[in-house]
Amino acid sequence: MDKKHIFDEPKNVKRLLVSFYAILVILVSIDFFIPKHPHFAWEEWPQFFAVYGFVACVLLVLVSKYVLRPLVKRKEDYYD
């Protein structure tokens, strides 16, 4: 019988996710108290980087999956 490892336990995965969400909340809340000295105006907007990071990654995945993959995907023996 294989030894049980840390993420075999669903409880531990859940704990990880909960702490991850907690960090997100902390980051969003302390953002309001950070003094900023930006190059660009939008760097001062609250949560700018959070929103940009999230939207960028969702777009990245959607474009890769629905635009790029149908264009470039070939069978593994395509070049043989």
Binding site: F20, L24, Y52, G53, A56, L62, L68, K73, Y79
Partner: protein, 601 residues
Amino acid sequence: MINALHPALIFIAGALLIPLLKGKAKSAYMLLLPALSFMNLLQIPAGQHWVIGFLDYNLTLCRIDRLSMVFGYIFHIISFISILYALNVKDDGQHVAAVLYSGAALGVVYAGDLFTLFIFWEIMAVTATYLIWARRTRASSSAGMRYLLVHLFGGLCLLIGILLQLHNTGSLEFSHIGLNGLASALIFIGFGINCAWPGFHSWLTDAYPEATITGTIFLSAFTTKCAVYALARGYAGTDLLIWIGAAMAAFPIFYAVIENDLRRVLSYSLINQVGFMVVGIGIGTELGINGAVAHAFADILFKGLLFMAMGAVMHQTGKINCTDLGGLYKSMPFTALFCIIGAASISAFPLFSAFATKSMVMDATAKDHLTGVWFILLFASAGVFHHAGIKIPFFAFFSHDSGIRTKEAPLNMLLAMGIAAFLCIFIGSFPGYLYSILPYPVDYQPYTAPHVMAQLQLLFFSALAFTLLMLSGIYPAEIRAINVDADWTYRKGAKAFMWMLTNPMTKLGAWISRTVFELIPSSLGWASKNPVAVIKIAADSLLLKFAVPEKRDEIKMRIQREKEIYPGDIIRHWPIGSVVLLAILFFLAYLLVNYMTGAKH
């Protein structure tokens, strides 16, 4: 006179002795090479050394300044780490090629003139090809051949550019060149091919994943970074580079998301990271160049670390595709930890190396108010975390359990990864040491509250996107497939060219040779037997076309009869006397003409 050897000499000469040694002595000797070479390097004072006359020109074999020294330091560090990682390989050819390749890279960064640079540049291309071929698979031998051809083409551009430059300026010195005319453009493209510019990049994503496990570590460190060095030296402040770099940073991340082979994912992210350096060089300010060089320094370590971690996985399991891996943290916990450190470093988490280096390039774009480029680089920063920071460790070590149970990687591999991981954290936590060796004085502070905050938000919310897309099942499933890229043009293009040669072109050739060498001479020969009869047949055939229907049968019969008796009895129709008569008449005419034209004089 200085009491030291040329910086590349210990590697290049030392490599040749490797096959003579055995066992522990060989390992010790190989580890000693970079250490000895480094101590030798420190003995050489700044300035130009080993200036030798070659034909009518002076070659400067060694130039020590701050720019070449940063690359010299990191090349020694990574060659030590890579040699340690490769110690368990029992293939002298690979060891010799790898050490020669490292030495040639040193030769490139210390070359004071373009000709010396070119020689070492070509040694790098050949030894790198060996590291790809040494995998000894069908895929690696053809990928290696493509690698060699692309680099020979790049080398040719470089050589023609250098010769034109020599013709224009009368000097071989390698200093700032800048884009101004054909010679500089050819050198620019020669550098750009090694730098993996978009369109010229697919030699990298094609060949690196096919090279040997340990060869890839060397490859990922030297070729592109030598190109970064050469661009920083020759083309700092060239605006075009800003956009080339931005494109390099952005497009590979889309490929990386859908790629199945994890070493190919890393190859795409290698281009993405070099993109940041190219942007920094294009900006050309002190901050931009410092950022590009610092990021090259950091990238060599964390990209090497990630390739080492994936190499260790491949070494232990024989597999490298997302579809075959998963759950390996259970049997390879140290490799998993080192991989996560490499992932955190490439993603620029605070306290990890890229946080202190990539941000210099970001800051340089912001200072120059390059809004569009800044947004693209920020997008690329989020994207790199997504594909290199999360995808690599997640699919290899976590994700669904592939059921593979194996042992931890060999000790030398773990040690090599450990050293690289330590340096990644050290640079990130104490960036002052790296800043102090950069080409220009550094006036930059990475650890400010808003910078740390911005970076943490960017990364954690990128991670949130990954988590939500994973949990909702929208994240693209891993698929056993390949994705065509720019190498399609020459891989399929070469096939199309060969098809053109073997099908339409050979058919055309055969038709031409049949017509010219067989059909026409034989018909002429046939016709010459009895030209009068041929004319008769031709005239009758023509007549047949216009004849009234009643006459047709008669003409047909006549043509048939004429063809049957062809060539007929020529002698009866052309008695020898008439031929002689014709000849005499011809001579007479000739004499007359000759006499009349002669009379005019």
